[in-house]
């Protein structure tokens, strides 16, 4: 339909989540018409993010080096770990300013339908961190969805007797993703977290 490079760009863009064929076309023509430096800046940013950003070796959050900014920040409280599904879930919790501990990013949630088992998530790594000692509380902040709740339950069971495990209070709208909840709500949910197992 279009010349090779254009249809290639449309094909690549339409692979992005939430971008259909129509939107991909619009974006492609927008890029085509935009000034050269802007278009190249976009291309460079995509390249750079893939080359420079990896996962933190401790918490699996996004990181430019082997360890992320939060894990290397001396002022953070090293006795608590907040467990989230995705790196995007760290941002809204940080924005509340209520939490000063460390994180652990699982990289998803348990889902038998999709064949996602505990081994497919960074759960063993989390247990390893707790086993190293010094952790007084693990806050489970997986999403209040079917899969997020099951993941929280699984982790709580495995950490039972090792440390105190709490779950974000259900101030979050049921089924809502952390990523889309507002700061006040997440702040309240953090303040009202309930215990899933004693220490």
């Amino acid at each position: 339909m279009y010349a090779g490079p254009i249809s290639r760009l449309i094909a690549e863009l339409s692979r992005l989540p939430g971008i259909g064929q129509r939107t991909a076309q619009r974006l492609a023509f927008h890029i085509l018409r935009s000034p050269e430096d802007q278009a190249f800046a976009l291309a460079d940013a995509i390249r750079e993010v893939k080359e420079k950003v990896g996962l933190c070796e401790v918490c699996s959050n996004l990181s430019e080096g082997p360890r992320c900014q939060i894990c290397t920040d001396e002022r953070r409280d090293r006795s608590s770990i907040c467990v989230v599904e995705e790196p995007a879930d760290v941002i809204p919790i940080e924005r509340t300013g209520e939490y000063r501990g460390l994180y652990h990013v699982l990289g998803g949630a348990l889902s038998p339908i999709d064949g996602i088992d505990p081994e497919d998530l960074k759960i063993a790594e989390l247990i390893g961190r707790v086993d190293e000692g010094g952790i007084e509380e693990v806050v489970l902040a997986t999403n209040p969805t079917t899969t997020g709740e099951a993941t929280a339950q699984h982790i709580a069971d495995r950490l039972a007797g090792k440390t105190k495990v709490t779950r974000l209070a259900s101030g979050l709208p049921v089924g809502a993703d952390l990523e889309h909840a507002d700061e006040v709500t997440i702040g309240k949910a953090l303040a009202g977290r309930r215990s899933l197992s004693g220490d």
Partner: protein, 370 residues
């Protein structure tokens, strides 16, 4: 309260149709195939974005049109007017707007309750229909409970996916524990919400059913799931360890049922067509009166093709009870089948012919532009 309907390109409705909806009783009458059901469907589409007929939504676009567009004007509790717009075209573009913007919780749309002869399935059909009814009533009485059913369903699907893998020998049976525990957490509130909803509905159902001529009518919620979250969890654990076979899969609110009966016998097995119809109508009327009792707004009741099946006395009783519960729109082949004088404070009737409102007849002011 719904004030008016405008439609263009919707099914067989011709031209730019615009008519007012009576605060109490609106009647569409005309020959078979005139477009009476299509008018109800247009209202349904305007308020919900979905057709009440099954099949692809694109089938709702008029044969001669490229797009369909319906607008419904309504007032909220405070009397402020709002307008919905629902549209679709042949390329698949759809829009659902309220006051020209995306719908928000701050302007709740009027709800719709529908009687259609197919709805006898609620009584005659498999239990899934009645569970859906129980959940719908629970959700309408208490909107925060609307998603309990879907949450339980998603958890059950995950649990069963895990069970398949256990049975295939891919995982040890202990890998079911987490999912059973989640299932118990989702089952308990679902069972409680169904029980509460049917308890609230029962007296209203009984009253409406007696009005419509049923003897000793009753409705009861039947579940094998008893007790709280913890006892459900324990029961699942027992079944799982004893034998993760049939009994295990057959335990849970996904197997609940409602017993609807008259004269001490279930209408599903023993009811005549007429009794079953009366029960379905009584469920609709009962739900509306339960909502009114709970201080919630009553849904607009759309009654399609029901009049011809009832004797004159039943028609009067039905219309009387329906109008007492809120706004009603009825279709009939003959206007004389719908008692209005003395049964509704006000009423408006439209004669429908070949997708048009016949202006010559009994209809009050209406605009049917070119």
């Amino acid at each position: 309260m719904i004030a008016s309907l405008e439609a263009r390109g919707y099914r067989n409705l011709a031209g730019e149709l615009s008519l007012s909806i009576d605060p109490h009783l609106t009647v569409f009458h005309g020959l078979n195939g005139a477009g009476k059901t299509n008018l109800l469907d247009a209202l349904h589409f305007g308020l919900t974005g979905a057709s009440m007929r099954s099949g692809a939504i694109k089938n709702a676009i008029g044969f001669e049109s490229d797009s369909a567009r319906v607008e419904v004007e309504f007032s909220d509790k405070t009397g402020t007017m709002h307008k919905t717009l629902a549209s679709l075209d042949r390329s698949g573009q759809r829009r659902n707007l309220v006051d020209g913007a995306a719908p928000t919780a701050s302007v709740p749309l009027p709800r719709v309750a529908l009687f259609h002869p197919d709805h006898l399935q609620t009584i005659k059909g498999p239990p899934a229909h009645r569970r859906a009814l129980a959940d719908q009533v629970a959700g309408s009485l208490s909107p925060s409970q609307t998603d309990l059913r879907a949450r339980y369903g998603r958890t059950l699907a995950q649990r069963n996916a895990q069970l398949r893998r256990v049975r295939a020998g891919e995982l040890p049976v202990t890998e079911l524990e987490v999912w059973d525990s989640r299932l118990a957490s989702e089952a308990a509130p679902l069972v409680a919400s169904r029980r509460d909803a049917i308890e609230i509905l029962a007296p209203h159902f009984r009253e409406a059913a007696i009005t419509l001529g049923l003897t000793e009518p009753g409705i009861a919620y039947k579940t094998r799931v008893g007790g709280d979250e913890e006892s459900i969890r324990l029961r699942l654990a027992e079944l799982r360890t004893e034998d993760p076979g049939r009994a295990y899969v057959m335990y849970g609110p996904h197997l609940d049922d409602l017993h609807v009966e008259a004269e001490g016998r279930p209408l599903k097995q023993f009811g005549s067509q007429g009794q079953q119809r009366a029960a379905v109508l009584a469920l609709l009327l009962g739900e509306r009166s339960a909502l009114a009792g709970a201080g919630r707004e009553s849904p607009i009741l759309l009654l399609d093709d029901v009049m011809s099946e009832l004797d004159p006395r039943r028609r009067e009783l039905l219309i009387g009870a329906a109008v007492a519960g809120g706004q009603v729109v009825v279709t009939a082949t003959d206007l004389s089948q719908v008692p209005s004088e003395g049964f509704a404070p006000t009423s408006t009737s439209y004669r429908v012919e070949a997708g048009r409102i016949d202006a010559g007849a009994d209809s009050p002011p209406l605009a049917e532009a070119v």
